[in-house]
Subunit: 215 residues, 2 copies
């Protein structure tokens, strides 16, 4: 299994957590998003990933893009330990929580989007940070509300073991720190983040621990 990612990519981070939770080995290739005009834009990489985004997973004849599709494929291919509940209603709740982040938060803070804000609207770093803070705060507050409706008393989003919701939440909270988001109003989000960080599957997936990590 070949995995093309970048240490700082939130969507690659998700996949790394899932690999670790499921105990899967993979060959990693770093796709440096800023070096040489962006290694994701080479014809070779675009042949695998027509969006010129990370991550990409290659397994035999299968070339798969989009982190949420990769995570579902990992679950379908290596079902144990499960990252989705067996009950279909609970599974849907977990997917909804994960998609708050995967659809309505993370894509708005992507490198190409921030570059557009700078190039076309003259946004400086402070304006880019304010942009990211707005969408991250909106999304994580919705996550906080959903966690408040849970009554399982577990350390994780939806039960006794970490799953897809936690896999998406942790990289987003990490990224919130980079953009200076105030998490004071989100005690449940923060508690899940800390509980996950205590697990090696999450801790070892952190950007700073990857072979392509930089300061």
């Amino acid at each position: 299994m070949q995995f093309y990612g970048y240490f700082r990519s939130s969507s690659a981070y998700r996949c790394r957590i899932a690999f670790n939770l499921k105990g899967l080995e993979y060959d990693f290739t770093s796709v440096h998003l800023r070096r040489g005009g962006g290694q994701q834009k080479t014809p070779e990489y675009r042949a695998m990933n027509p969006q010129a985004l990370v991550p990409t997973l290659v397994n035999g004849d299968l070339t798969l893009i989009q982190s949420m599709a990769i995570l579902e494929w990992l679950e379908d291919t290596y079902p144990e330990p499960a990252i989705l509940p067996a009950d279909k209603d609970k599974r849907a709740q977990v997917r909804a929580f994960a998609n708050i982040i995967a659809c309505d938060v993370h894509p708005l803070q992507n490198l190409r989007v921030l570059q557009y804000l700078g190039d076309e609207f003259g946004a400086d770093q402070a304006a880019k940070d304010a942009w990211c803070q707005r969408w991250i705060t909106d999304g994580l507050m919705a996550c906080e509300d959903l966690l408040a409706k849970q009554s399982h008393g577990s350390a994780f989003c939806f039960g006794e073991t970490p799953g897809l919701a936690d896999i998406c939440l942790v990289p987003q909270v990490f990224s919130a720190g980079r953009f200076g988001v105030d998490l004071a109003a989100m005690p449940r989000v923060t508690a899940v983040y800390e509980a996950c960080q205590a697990l090696s599957a999450f801790a070892n997936a952190a950007p700073g621990k990857q072979p392509d990590a930089e300061e």
Copy 2:
């Protein structure tokens, strides 16, 4: 089954197509995104959907947000006719295609995002249209590339019957028209759109045919 949506919402449109393909009846409540400061922002609606976005599905005790989670739940609950392939590798490819649109295109053209561009960056309608054109073109060109790799010769994205990829593609192509996107370089995307529009499940889900439709 209660469905809260808005005629012009691309994510509500996806759900309507799936309801129709699966032959499901539902009670519709319109949540007008512009009237009265936005009906999605009322405390009553936020209690169901903490993101204050459409759509929301309510089925007995289950309150479900996020269109992609709703679509997966519909598939899990009403498996026939299927909108995802039985083969796990093909299923992953379909989800990846759908997520190009659901993650990397549609959220960038959401009403709240366009309002932010106007309020904070002084973007006028032409600048907002250019923003939408950029992300829609990027995403649909990636879809075109993925369709070019298919060799099934069918009218739909991934086979003889329409599925999740088509369900996401059609509302996005419809929306591309609203924002003046040039689709000339995307003959496969355009052909799938036209094939889908010939089916009543798609045609009847169009924004202009909904009870809350406006000019």
